[in-house]
Each structure stands twice: as C-alpha cells, then as structure tokens.
Amino acid sequence: MTIMRINVGPIHPSTHGVLRLVVDVDGDTIKGVTPHIGFLHRGVEKLMENRMYMQSPSYTEKLDYVASLSWDDLYVSTVELAIGKEVKEAAQVARVVMLELQRIASHLIWLGTQCNELGQMFTMFMWCMRERQEILKFLEDISGTRMFYVNLRLGGFNKQLPADFVDRAHRLVDYLERNFASYPDVTESDPIFMERMKNVGILDRDTAIEYGVSGPVLRGSGVEYDIRKNMPYYIYDKVKFIVPTGSKGDNFDRYRVRYREMLESIKIIRQALDMMPKDPDVLGVPVKLIGPAAKPDIVVNHRELPKGEGIIYMVPDKQKPYRISLRSPTFINLSVLPKIAEGAKFADLVVISGSLDMVMGEIDR
C-alpha cells in the first residue's frame, strides 16, 4: 500500500488558528499525524521578564484569547502569591463570577466552531455567538473593553463593581440557562452529530494520564481531576458543584463534559452571587511605577483554565520576574493528537483536533 502525505494548514479554515498538520494517509485512513507549531510564536515569557509585574497582564491575556480573563487571573494571583497580598473577599467572589462566565464563553466558542466543522453550518454557531455576545457585554460594562479586560489588580480590581452587578449577573445567568436547554435539540438529537462524535477519537484513561493532558479532555476520559476541586482557590471550596466526567474518552464525551461544565458554571455563579457581601469593596492596589516588592521565593501557581490546568512557575525579582515559565494546557493536549488520530478517517481529523479545543496563541506563546 502506498502512503500519501497530505499537508493541512497553516492557513486552514478549521484548524483553530495557524496549525500545520502533516498527515500520512493510506487510502482514507490516517497512518500518522505530525503537528507543526510555532507560527504564532512571539516570545511572551521573554517579554514578560522585561516588564514590571503589573504591565504583564496585557501579555498573559493574549495567550488564550478565547478566555482572556482566566490567564490574567492566573498571572495576577501568582504575583499576589509572590508579593504576599491577600485578595479581598468581595473581589474573590467577583473574580469567581467573572471567571466562570469566561469559562462559559470559551466553551461556547468551542461548541460553535465544532458544529461548523461537522458541517452543521451556522445554526449552533449563531446560537453560541448570540449567548457569548451577552456575556461579553456584561464583562464590558464592568471593565470597559470587550475582549481583553485588564481590570485585575493586586488584591482586587481596578475599579468598583457597577451597582447592578448582582442583579444583572442573575438575569444573565437565567438567560443563559434558558437558552442552553435548547442546545441538545441541535446536537444530541441530531443523527449526523452523534454519528461523527460517538466512537471517534477515543482517548483511553491510561493514555490520557500518561500524556499529561488536562481539563475537559482528561475528564472526558473518565479521570475526575479538577483544580477547583482538588486544590481549591478563592471560594471554590465553599460552593457545591460536581466535576462532570465521561466514560469512553471519545469526541462525544468531550462535548458532553463541556456542555455539563457550562451548566455547572451557572450553578457556581448563582452560589457565588449569594455570597456577595452588601456594598462590596473590590478595589485593589493601583498600578504605580514602583509597586510593592516581591519576596525572593520561587512561586508555582495552579489554576483550572477553561482548557485545562495552567501553571506559572516564577522566580521573582523585586519589581519584575527574573524568570517566568508558563505551562499551557493546550500544548500538552495537542501532543495527544497523533495518538488518537491514528486509525481514524481523514474526514474526522478536523473534528478530532477540534475536540481538543486548541488555541494556537497559547501553544506557540
């Protein structure tokens, strides 16, 4: 049998950015996939080492541009650890609300594009973008910008929350829940969707742990691992939520985990809003030329980002990091693609790579 080598990307409508895949096919069956990355590399870590601590959030949020606030929070909380600054209670609650909304927004983008890739053109995409617009509008009214909200400061936010924060958040969450209820009509009741998602791209439990994948990809394979549960931060130990897991580890399980996570996020937001104190004071330390100095201890910080476990390793200097290293979850999730795509049909390649929810800005750094 002759093996044909096909190039996919880097400019391709459905590789979620500029990812290049070199695929060896025998007939219609994939024999091997080699991902080529680095088309968006711009040296974030090096740039961050040449910035003051609170200048860098505008870099970290462009790592995962689908859910910018989550990386922002990871970085700012790392600096808070290094400096030894406690986060105000109301700010903790507000951060959890905004982070969970950001998680929903990220999953919405994933769901919309995934359905596009399945050829289910634009119904789900339009619905998801409609809901995402509402979330972005809510976050925009808090911070002032639409996608990149540089509003986290040491110990809180850059300004006070709007007066109707709780009311609007409740209304937004009600709206989201109402609309999410209709999503399975287009996904799970659709035979084409099920046919192409079930039993495709199977990642079993042991392989998932071996490769070190995290986030919904790991939970889809049946491992119950969530930083919010295992190493709780902010108020996550006080709220009740379950960590949804799959059983088989195929595309459908990964979809199911993400869909249920969106509903769990709504639960978390509701509980967090009930914890919100009256007249919340969320003001953090304003950014100055010379900020508070950091302690010279190495800091490692974990967060559950929408796409998996993000880690920042930082060797602090006084006013800026001496060395900073980012562990992006999607980079490790991508490494499992050659394994699970092998033996699949060529037409399923885009669906499988899409189900890993990659963001190239974070992979290439």
Partner: protein, 216 residues
Amino acid sequence: MSDAPYSEEEFLNAEDKMSAITEQSLKSYRVPPNALFTRLSDVTKLLSKKVLKWGKTNSLWPAQFGLACCGIELMAFGASQVDAERKGYLLFRSTPRQNDVMIVAGWVTKSMVPRVKRFYDQMASPKYVIAYGECATSGGPWWESYNIIQGIDQVLPVDVYVAGCPPPPENLFAAMMKLQDKVGGKTVGDRERSIAEEIGRDEGEGVQLPEEDNGR
C-alpha cells in the same frame, strides 16, 4: 423576348455567373481581426465604469483567514449581532481564489510572512487588504518581540487600517464601508448610511431604536 436587356444565353448562364461573382467576392473579402470582439469591448468599457464597479463595491468577499485574537472578533463579525451579510460582506471564502478582501487579523510572525504573502498572491485581482487590529497595523504589544514584523504593511499594500486591540466588529464594519468608498462604486443602502452619518440630526430621528432587551 427581343426587348429583354439580356440575351437568352446570358439568361441561361446567369446562375453560374452569379455564383462565380460571389465566390470571387468572398475570396477577396478579408475579415478584419476581432471585429466582433472590439465592438463588445467597447460595450464593456462603457459598462465597466458603472456596472463592474458597482459589482465590485457591493460584493467584497473577505477571506476566512484569522491569525490570532482578532480572528475571534472576525467570527463575531459574521455572527448575528453585527450581521455583515446585509451589506454583502459576509461570504467568507476559504480559498484565496474567491476572495476580494484579505483581513489580516492578528500578529504576523516571521515564519508566517511567506505564507501570508503567498495567500495574497493567489488572490485574483482586484484585491484589497485590511490591517485589522494593532498587531497587523504596527506590531502592537509585541512590537519589541524578535519574531514579529511591525505591521503587515511591510509586506503587503494595505488599504484600510483598523485601530483597536481587538477592534470591535463594528469597527471592521466601518472599515469595510471605507473600503467601499475607496473602490468607488455606488453602494447599496446609501440612504441608511447617510442617515447614520448625518451629524446635525436630532437624537432618535430617522432611526428606530430597539426596545431594551430584558434578557441580559
């Protein structure tokens, strides 16, 4: 029969003679080259100023070509809130052969430059480039990076720049309208546009404001 202008012999041979004359004339007649086509081109020359320009102006098909963060806003540009389709902008094509506008959405790394250039070369003329966002305009926050070119205008001729990080989809909409002005044809929906751009109008006049959505 004697009054006839021709003799009987001539009358009998007339048919042969006629055919001989026709043959002769056909042999001597040379068709001027491209007689038909020159005339058609005259017509298209007349038409091209108006009809073709009108067509170009109102069917600017962008490329489905998102590089980075701005690509997400490009998706929002195509989604229901902005609804770019009402102006004919929206047929996002995946192949460069069917594109008119290339929206460079994101930072361009050095390894990406030859690919972007090749994509541009594959597009059929007339083609336009929009630099969408800070990174494509000037390098943006990555200006100091060792792997970034400081703006796509170092490589391609840019028609419209859009500022913002990332610019909201409405800004891209405005940029497409600017590009339409640049192409120069008559745009569809000129009347609504003049209402929107008229500065001296009273608030709410001529524009139906939607009711407050209680959903959010």
